[in-house]
Symmetry: C2
Subunit: 339 residues, 2 copies
Amino acid sequence: MAITVKDVAAHAGVSTATVSRVLNNDPGIKPETRRRVKESIKNTGYRINKAARSLKTSRTGTVGLLVPELANDFFMTVAQGVEDVLRTRGYGVIICNANEDEKYEQDRIDLLIEQCVDGAIIIPASSAGAHFNRLPEAGIPVVLVDRLVDDFNSDAVLADNINGTYSAVVHLIETGCKRFGFIGGSLELSNFRERYEGFKRALSDYNIALEDEIIKFGNVHINSGYELMKELMIGPNPPENVFIANYFLQVGATKFLIENNNRVQPGIRIAGFDDMSLSSILGFSSITVSQPMHSMGEKAAEMLLERIEEFASGSTQICPSRFIRLKTGLIEHRSVKPV
Amino acid sequence: MAITVKDVAAHAGVSTATVSRVLNNDPGIKPETRRRVKESIKNTGYRINKAARSLKTSRTGTVGLLVPELANDFFMTVAQGVEDVLRTRGYGVIICNANEDEKYEQDRIDLLIEQCVDGAIIIPASSAGAHFNRLPEAGIPVVLVDRLVDDFNSDAVLADNINGTYSAVVHLIETGCKRFGFIGGSLELSNFRERYEGFKRALSDYNIALEDEIIKFGNVHINSGYELMKELMIGPNPPENVFIANYFLQVGATKFLIENNNRVQPGIRIAGFDDMSLSSILGFSSITVSQPMHSMGEKAAEMLLERIEEFASGSTQICPSRFIRLKTGLIEHRSVKPV
DNA sequence: TATACTTATGTAATCGATTACAACACGAGG
DNA sequence: CCTCGTGTTGTAATCGATTACATAAGTATA
């Protein structure tokens, strides 16, 4: 049915071994022969059958990317970085959606193992990591991005959450802010724990009190941001400044303020972690911490490729896990004052 | 090295054929045997090698999803729909990024063919479609989503762009709007052509003049929306109402208005195509046309599965291409008036 | 009891590419 | 003229699962 190496071999008048060698850039082929084979490949319209190759080499040329959610610019910008690097190296990327659910995440890991991916990049959906161990057990190296998890360790690419948050809060303090609320995701997640840590450290360094009743934690979503901002605003003593630990929480918080015409705290200033393409048009936003999302993806892909080489060369002494922390930036927004 | 059917067969005291039959739910297996084999599968920790299976069956259990861009909530919500359906049917989804570039798109199609996907779902990056033909030529069925293209035809899932736009504009007219600007993407793209068509039809039906100087076309991105809104606002006679043909253009347009404190046309009302999670907090937005993005993905996946069956059963008489148009909705926003 | 048919399982060829090993040609060195 | 090394290509086994066909046991029919 389809064209195989045999057909190409016949067409070029050589053996299948020779065709295979040309396909794999084996140096020990006469230039003239190589030329002829390449021509036959063109003329026959031959396309390699990766299934057959994989069976023999036990390498599929695909890597898995497991993210908690697809419709999420943060994850997908990371994904672009991953894809950019991997594609130029000839790899295909299978993007899987864990649907913010450990069960789903499990299931997708099964999928990746079955598909025999050569490696996996994971943005964890929760702090649970035990189930990730099945990948290295199956000979599949893993790189984590954005968050660390419990009961599993591997290479990881992370943002400098502590210092990023620290510098944003300090910036606000130095421009006159005196009292801060905080809206964050669950402290079970390492990235939020770190951001909260940076927040506390900044207040502490400047002798500003940490007021528990204006420190709120929820999940990572728009709705949560909405609810938590509501809690802050109907509280006894609403803050004038709020640090919000990710973009989606900020969107939700902004939504609450807009819908309620921000009656409570007219001069409110928001600083947020993550700088997305829409951050600049969110109301009340004074400053955001930018993560190098694309680079995080690229770095993760590069680390993974190294590991794949290692695993493939069967080197028994695997060097220990490495973490990379990428620097964050600080983006000031012209003070947009909606309502 | 890894555990194969042979090992399972030995463990269960049967032949590899029997193991394979259990794996594939062949009905002609004694329940007792089936039980024993299943147990052996569990105990040996066997995992099927898809490469080997694919080689034999020439089915990989993966489908490709080619999108113009990853960090795009519209495309990714469609992707979620696709994944939801496909995953429950045991398929893996390879998501590829065409990077809004026909060359890239070509390249990713090559990738999909090499990976021997069983089918492909494509959201085209441009109006060019000739290069898609290589997929069906390679025995891979295709379903288009969102847009049609030139020089290629296949099944497609589309939104009812004309009526969606029509009803939104009519709604505005009936609530008192008298003069409309329009901001759209290139008319080369079928979806924008259709939305413009709906716009014109509404004005015509209500005897409202189409004023060329307040009808602007660009590309599909935030920047373009920004620039086109600027053009409208610095023009001789800026409109009070603007229909904007997609979410990203609307974001850009809103950004321009906010940054310039909307001095020109204080009462401006915007109606937009696409209702995303952030649409409700975009300033000036009065009404948006919602597309059933998730369902579009689901439908596309279902159509593709049918075609895959057809192709696989080798039925020679392939039934002609089918289009599905999905109804849009109308979402009113509480009039949020920033600035 | 012989025949035919069913049901359950085994045997072995097969998918398409890779690769260890063999083979062959050619020239250099002795 | 023989041997050896080098460079180039061919032969055939192999990866792991599937499946057409063969086989064997059991059951119904005449």
